[in-house]
């Protein structure tokens, strides 16, 4: 099978209408995939953003946070998932825990580094304008740190979207089904097709973050970082 045939096979797989409907159809699997990914990302952000911001703002506990985050980065997601599944049984919760653990470190470290790295002069200026601790954090530090914070969120989002495929290993849905089932059945068009979908999703996340960055980062900062 040559390159052209291969592309055609994957294209045929992607464009076969039977693959676009029902519980095993692409829209349903895509939705599942997005659902796990988004949920994990939101949970991770809800924990890591405030934590990183507070630690960066106060400057206390920074070393501990970075050390723990580096430690957490090293946790193999699949291993963690299998431990939780073995102990708890199957379900969405183990997948969410594992993906959240994957998403937290980059958000946490980037938020912390971003806030900590804000020029002291900016903080002084804010203080001079009569702002207090929380005001300085929210109105001066967060906007200035925003590019780094977004970078952390983007890294986390891409990792989660690509890694959510392993949910299929423990019987959960998502686009990983096409890859894991395709491997078991030696159905390569399904593997390639599924991978292309995950890839496109990862690219869509990148593009979305370009848009978010435009909307959120103040113009004066856009050329940096």
């Amino acid at each position: 099978m040559n390159l052209a045939d291969q592309i055609r096979a994957a294209w045929t797989w992607l464009t076969t209408s039977a693959h676009w409907s029902g519980g095993d159809g692409i829209p349903h699997r895509l939705l599942e995939h997005l659902q796990y990914s988004a949920l994990a990302l939101v949970i991770a952000a809800l924990i890591a953003l405030p934590l990183g911001a507070i630690v960066g703002h106060t400057g206390r506990g920074g070393f501990v946070v970075v050390t723990i985050a580096n430690f957490a980065r090293a946790i193999p997601t699949l291993g963690l998932l299998l431990i939780i599944v073995t102990v708890m049984s199957i379900g969405l919760t183990p997948v969410l825990i594992a993906l959240t653990a994957l998403a937290m470190p980059p958000i946490l470290v980037n938020t912390y580094e971003g806030i900590r790295g804000v020029d002291p002069d900016i903080k002084d200026a804010a203080r001079g304008m009569g702002m207090t601790g929380p005001g300085i954090l929210l109105k001066a530090e967060v906007p200035v740190a925003m590019p780094l914070v977004l970078l952390g969120l983007r890294t986390a989002a891409i990792q989660v979207v690509a890694t959510a495929t392993i949910a299929a290993e423990v019987g959960i849905g998502g686009l990983g089904r096409y890859i894991i089932d395709g491997l078991a059945r030696k159905d390569y068009p399904s593997v390639v097709g599924g991978s292309v979908l995950v890839l496109l999703l990862a690219v869509a996340v990148q593009v979305a973050f370009v848009g978010i960055r435009r909307a959120v980062v103040s113009r004066g900062l856009r050329n940096q970082a």
Binding site: I90, I180, D181, Y188
Partner: protein
């Protein structure tokens, strides 16, 4: 910013090309590298195993039986499903693979085969296997795929045979390895021979038998394709449904061999294993591996010693 987007677009195009080209040549024979991957090159016999504990156990049994006769062995365990490893045996990348004759026949050799008994299956295999491959003697030990239900489902619908499922299958979820969905000895055969259409199929990696067992126990699924030598079937009072239409054919443990990679000593060693191995042995060994968490290598060694085959 636009440049990044454009960069990403170029990236997608290139990556798509790469992924596509990475996957070309998956059809066996078309790829020159396949021939070179012969394990015989290093002078050893490569024993493989599929991705579930019993296959690894049998791989250990074969490997140690060969070693006891002085054959140099390399192990490549936990490779995946038959769909994945079969081509590797065909091209000599793996020399010896523990197989189940019936499943081998209908998954990889002749999907339409009607052979049911051990003799029929082996005759069909001998006739249809590619020239590079052969099956050695089959053992008496059998481990079939099955349709197994939990006790509450069996009681509720008075289930004894797969045929009893016909009126109720639409209300039941069945779990099994991914490949079960597309195999003749799986949902395909269950539909064509019994007219069964289940409400839902819950796919799992073949590795995840223990998870299937948990789900079956908690009634999250009502039926599952469990291997009949799974010690948890008896422990949980699951009911293995009879199969009067023989969707699941004979499944004798049988070595699949890349012919030119194994000498007569090796063949004799594996045939000696097959002569001794019974279903009861297999069940007892699986209880030690899965239940008592003993190592497959230890359990295999004990069995070989007890059978008088371990040097």
């Amino acid at each position: 910013m636009i440049r990044i987007v454009r960069g990403a677009a170029v990236g997608v195009a290139v990556a798509l090309a790469l992924t596509a080209c990475g996957s070309s040549g998956d059809k066996s024979g078309g790829n020159p590298l396949d021939q070179k991957s012969s394990g015989g090159g290093s002078g050893g016999v490569v024993v493989g195993s599929a991705n579930f504990p019993e296959s690894q156990l049998l791989g250990e049994v074969y490997a140690q039986a060969l070693e006891a006769k002085g054959v140099k062995v390399t192990k490549k365990f936990n490779i995946g499903s038959r769909e994945v490893y079969y081509d590797q045996v065909k091209s000599g990348g793996i020399t010896v693979m523990p197989e189940y004759n019936g499943a081998l026949l209908t998954t990889s050799v002749d999907k339409t085969s009607k052979a049911v008994t051990t003799d029929e299956v082996n005759a069909a295999l001998k006739a249809k296997l590619p020239a590079s491959l052969e099956v050695l003697d089959s053992s008496k030990a059998e481990d079939k795929d099955s349709v197994t239900v939990n006790s509450q489902t069996a009681a509720k619908y008075h289930l004894k045979s797969i045929a009893d499922l016909k009126p109720v299958a639409g209300q039941l979820t069945i779990g099994g390895p991914s490949e079960f969905k597309t195999r003749e000895q799986g949902l395909v055969g269950l539909e064509s021979k019994y007219g069964l259409k289940f409400k839902k199929f819950q796919p799992f990696d073949a590795n995840a038998q223990t998870t299937l067992v948990k789900l079956l126990k908690s009634d999250s699924i009502q039926a599952a394709d469990l291997f009949t030598t799974d010690p948890t079937i008896a422990a949980n009072k699951f009911v293995v449904l009879e199969d009067p239409q023989n969707v699941f054919s004979a499944q004798n443990v049988t070595p699949l061999v890349y012919k030119s990679g194994l000498n007569d000593t090796g063949v004799a060693a594996l045939n000696a294993v097959s002569a001794k191995l019974t279903t009861a042995d297999l069940l007892a060994m699986m209880t030690k591996v899965v239940g008592d968490k003993q190592d497959a290598s230890t359990v295999a060694k004990d069995w070989l010693k007890q059978a008088g085959l371990g040097g």
